[in-house]
Amino acid sequence: MMQITNALDPVEALKSALPAMVQDVKLFRDETTIVVAPEDIETVARYMRDTPGLLYNYLSDISAVDYYPDYNRPGRFGVCYHLYSMIYNRRIRLKVFLQEDDPKLSTLTVLWPAANWLEREIYDLMGIVFEGHPNMRRIMMPKDWNGHPLRRDYPLGYETVMFSFNFDQINKHKPYAKE
């Protein structure tokens, strides 16, 4: 039986245990964000999950964000891990910044199986590779798709809408299917 101890302040606890790994701490609208280096994410997440007093045992979400084109942040890509503690009923965000060329990160599937598909989705749509992932393949798009659609430099793929004034023009080129 696990002993339930009093809740610790996550930032203080992390700073005292792994001082080199906390790069930055931000507070916005009562949400704490801890920025860590890409190579440290597994250690930090494991510490957050297993330390009595923190026990962030539920992986809510992993989401990636692209700061293209002109970013005033440490890297082009950000990957956010939203952890939730069932016992202390609070959330925290771990954030990693990645450089533009060859964005790589170690996987968290060893800690939470739930990370499996979330990381695959980020790989597919954002092009961030998770090293050590058991099945790093496209999940949403067809496997022969080019590019990663959710990057900011990927076009939305807008097609001119047919109205009555340009119907004939577009209708001529529209590739209708045959019987």
Binding site: M141, G157, Y158, E159, V161, M162, P175, Y176, A177, E179
Partner: protein, 166 residues
Amino acid sequence: MGVVSSKLGNMGVVTTTLDTAVNWARTGAMWPLLFGLACCAIEMMATQASDYDLSRFGMELNRASPRQADLIIVAGRVVRKMAPVVRQLYDQMASPRYVIAMGDCASCSGVYNNYALVQGVDEVVPVDVYIAGCPPRPEQLIHGILTLHERIRGEHLNQWIVEGER
């Protein structure tokens, strides 16, 4: 046909053209493919369920196999990954076969003018009836189906026999 038989009395004989008889039979028992994609499929289910009762038009029997279906209702958005599947289902259906593009997404991709969607399912399969709405109300779907029936009644036997040989 009812008019004819009442005029002649109850003789058990009905005279009509073959076109009318065949088209009457085809519109009276049209089996749609049990095939739903997205939101419109839920409205399609609602159309078949108790309140709107699609079986009034002889369409209560949804076939899960495309080989047994006459009509495919593309209910929802067709994305690029799904497009080959839709085409394959269509190819498996026996002629004469019909397609209804239900909803804005199937007709012209609706609000999602983006990379993932096929911009109108008519790029993948030939469409007979388009139904607008996001999602269309069950009444709209019924109207679309009746429009298709209307169209079938105007068909001639010799046309689709030639078509079938091709």
